[in-house]
């Protein structure tokens, strides 16, 4: 046994003192003030105009996508949607600090990361309409994106499961000698799952180059943070695992970007995990199935609207002379019509053929699934009017 983790460095005390909250006071990195100016003591990250504008555009893009798709859900065109409104800086600021080779494992509210990597409106739509152009073959509910070409792992609904998986993925990257890591996004709610504990502890012990990125947005559906945990956020847990940790203002794209750049450097050079806790707020409803008025006040929402990451970033860009006011309007116009066109196109693309129903369960379709498919197709042939969407495919 190596004493490091047992008794090696333990100091002694002779007084019975139970440690209360407050031993830890993990500060929050803040670079841009809510009014869009840089804090006097703060150092701007090294970031050029092109990258900054790309980040800004991506944030605007997902904001527009959210607006449009929430409406599309209300119109009954898609079954479900889940917006990242208010959390754009956390997602895009971190994604911008990655290399394209880094694997992204997301929870579900991180389409900004995918957009940053160049996912097109058409691609987003193909997933949301579960049509046959989705590389995931339309197998999941809207917003469960996944694209191997962009190193974006297909999203899974069960919360927290991607956390130990990210440790494993990163371990594999290290073994393979890749100069790339894994970033794993999750909410402060998901951090209550046992998988969070397993994932962070394993990553720390097995020295996995992974960035754990927690969006602490104050809510898990209706459950506020104070009914989710009693400690100093999620960051304090990182310390408990011996994981290098940083807390950032999640509504400050410069802070998030700076922290993630540093985290990536550290994680890769030392082959170790880093935990980032981004303090933000879910301005949106949890999803289109949710109505936040049942559990929080408009006043609280208003308070956070004042910290809007997009507005804040815009002021900074304008002050820097990197952005003119009308450019935003033009971009928005462009994006709106791009999204709408993509939507209209994608909703006309058919879903996968019915014969696909037994594919990808195994690497090859085994005997019993072949038999089940055959029986199903036979049945549809017999009752074409009862399965109007697919009966056309099966012949007679």
């Amino acid at each position: 046994m190596n004493d490091r983790n047992h008794l090696g460095n333990v100091s002694m005390t002779h007084e019975v003192r139970i440690i209360e909250n407050g031993l830890l006071d993990i500060p929050m990195l803040a670079i841009l003030d809510a009014d869009g100016t840089v804090y006097p003591q703060a150092k701007e990250p090294e970031i050029n105009q092109q990258l900054a504008i790309k980040m800004y555009h991506t944030m605007l893009y997902t904001r527009m996508l959210d607006e449009r798709m929430v409406a599309a859900q209300r119109q009954g065109r898609i079954s479900f949607y889940l917006a990242s409104t208010g959390e754009e800086a956390a997602v895009v600021g971190s994604a911008a600090a990655l290399s394209a080779d880094d694997m992204i494992m997301s929870q579900y509210r991180e389409h900004g990361a995918l957009a940053f990597r160049g996912y097109t409106s058409a691609q987003f739509m193909n997933q949301m309409f579960s049509n046959r152009l989705d590389p995931n073959k339309g197998r999941q509910m809207p917003i469960h994106y996944g694209d191997k070409a962009l190193n974006f792992m297909t999203i899974s609904s069960p919360l927290g499961t991607q956390i130990p998986q990210a440790a494993g993925y990163a371990y594999g990257q290290k073994l393979a000698g890749n100069d790339a890591l894994t970033i794993c996004y999750f909410g402060e709610g998901a951090a209550s799952e046992g998988d969070f504990h397993a994932g962070l502890n394993m990553a720390a012990v097995l020295n996995c180059p992974v960035i754990f990125f927690c969006r602490n947005n104050g809510y898990a559906i209706s459950t506020p943070a104070e009914e989710q945990f009693a400690g100093d956020g999620i960051a304090s847990r990182g310390i408990g695992y011996g994981v290098r940790t940083i807390r950032v203002d999640g509504n400050d794209p410069l802070a998030v970007y700076s922290a993630t750049v540093k985290a990536r450097e550290l994680a890769l050079s030392a082959s170790q995990p880093v935990l980032i806790e981004a303090m933000t707020y879910r301005l949106a409803a949890h999803s289109t199935s949710d109505d936040p008025s049942g559990y929080r006040s408009k006043k609280e929402e208003e308070k956070w609207r004042l910290k809007d990451p997009i507005e804040r970033f815009k002021v900074w860009l304008v002050n820097k002379g990197w952005l003119k006011d009308e450019e935003t309007e033009n971009y928005l116009k462009e994006v709106r019509s791009d999204i709408l066109n993509a939507l209209k196109t994608a909703e006309k693309v058919p879903v996968n053929p019915i014969s696909d129903i037994v594919e990808d369960v195994y690497s090859e379709v085994p005997w019993h699934l072949k038999a089940q498919r055959e029986a199903l197709l036979e049945h549809i042939k017999r009752y074409p009017d009862k399965y109007p969407k697919t009966s056309g495919e099966v012949g007679k």
Binding site: A220, I357, H368
Partner: protein, 325 residues
């Protein structure tokens, strides 16, 4: 007597139980102030206080672990798992703890007072993470009881029966019926005892067996068959574990045929246990093989939900094949 939907019936059962016994405690993700994502626990926190109805952190293994301890202590926990698809992190606590607590302690301690409520099943465009019907997993766990109601009346009575039963019960609520199924539900307190199937319609030619939301499917198939002059006996199994093999066997000895319908994948679904048992008990009475009309052995599909489901047409076709066997 008022007409209630299934959610309202569940809510009423919880109010009845909490009023009747102050040891009843209700908790889970979002069940507190908000009343649950389906609103099955609406107003409970208001009525009974935060100590007896509360949100938990987002951890199913924790919820059931906590519930096991609370039950062992003597309280009467009713824990909600937000979706049946998310019950698996709690599987260890259920298999190795809930179900074995009494046995391992020689009856000194038990989780007998525990009820776990969870919505299950498809038909809501939820894909494979909001549609699973995991009852078969739980049917292989000695020590546990598993119950599935088919309508609001049954839901209230069986839930009260489950809460009061001195054994841990997994109570699975067919979520596609939450608002769709409406019927008269007495305001009074009534419980339905566990372990008994219900013969909903007598018949002579074939026995159709289902539970939960699929009961209405076999009813529809029976109606189609009736047009052909086929007389179906319809049984709602209600309890999956222990199940009422006697009622089913007696019916099959009369009709000579058994068709089982369930949503879960066919392989090792609970239909397999029923078929295995009935072919043994009723071997000499069977005029056709026991037949299962079930989900395919795939994850629950999003885009082809309609095709996947063991609907009335598939049931009716299977029934015809059985009659012509």
């Amino acid at each position: 007597m008022a007409k209630l939907n299934l959610l309202q019936a569940v809510n009423q059962a919880l109010i009845t139980a909490m009023t009747d016994d102050e040891k009843v405690v209700v908790f889970g993700e979002d069940v507190g102030h908000f009343g649950g994502v389906f609103r099955a626990t609406s107003h409970l926190q208001e009525k009974f206080g935060k100590a007896r109805c509360f949100n938990t952190p987002l951890t199913e293994q924790g919820i059931i672990g906590f519930a096991n301890g609370l039950a062992a202590q003597g309280s009467v926990p009713v824990a909600e798992i937000q979706f049946g698809d998310y019950i698996f992190p709690a599987f260890d606590q259920i298999v190795n703890e809930t179900a074995k607590f009494r046995y391992r302690s020689g009856g000194q301690f038990s989780c007998g007072s525990l009820t776990i409520r969870t919505p299950y099943g498809g038909g809501i465009a939820g894909g494979h993470y909001h549609s699973q019907s995991p009852e078969a997993f739980f049917s292989h766990i000695p020590g546990l009881k598993v119950v599935v109601p088919r309508d609001p009346y049954q839901a209230k009575g069986l839930l009260l029966g489950a809460i009061r039963d001195d054994n841990p019960v997994l109570f699975m609520e067919p979520k596609r019926l939450y608002r769709a199924s409406v019927c008269e539900v007495p305001e009074e307190d009534y419980s339905i005892g566990l372990g008994k199937a219900e013969i909903m319609q007598e018949g002579n030619d074939i026995t159709l067996l289902a539970w939960g939301a699929q009961v209405e499917i076999i009813q529809k198939a029976a109606a189609m068959a009736l047009e052909d002059g086929v007389s179906c006996e319809i049984i709602d199994l209600r309890s999956i574990l222990p199940w009422d093999a006697q009622t089913v066997a007696e019916s099959v000895m009369k009709t000579g045929r058994l068709l089982i319908n369930h949503e879960a994948p066919v392989t090792s679904g609970f239909g397999s246990e029923i078929a295995a048992h009935i072919q043994e008990q009723c071997f000499l009475y069977l005029e056709a093989p026991v037949t299962r009309v079930c989900g395919l052995d795939t994850p629950y599909p999003l885009a082809h939900e309609k095709e996947y489901m063991p609907d009335e047409y598939k049931t009716y076709e299977a029934l015809k094949r059985m009659l012509n066997y």
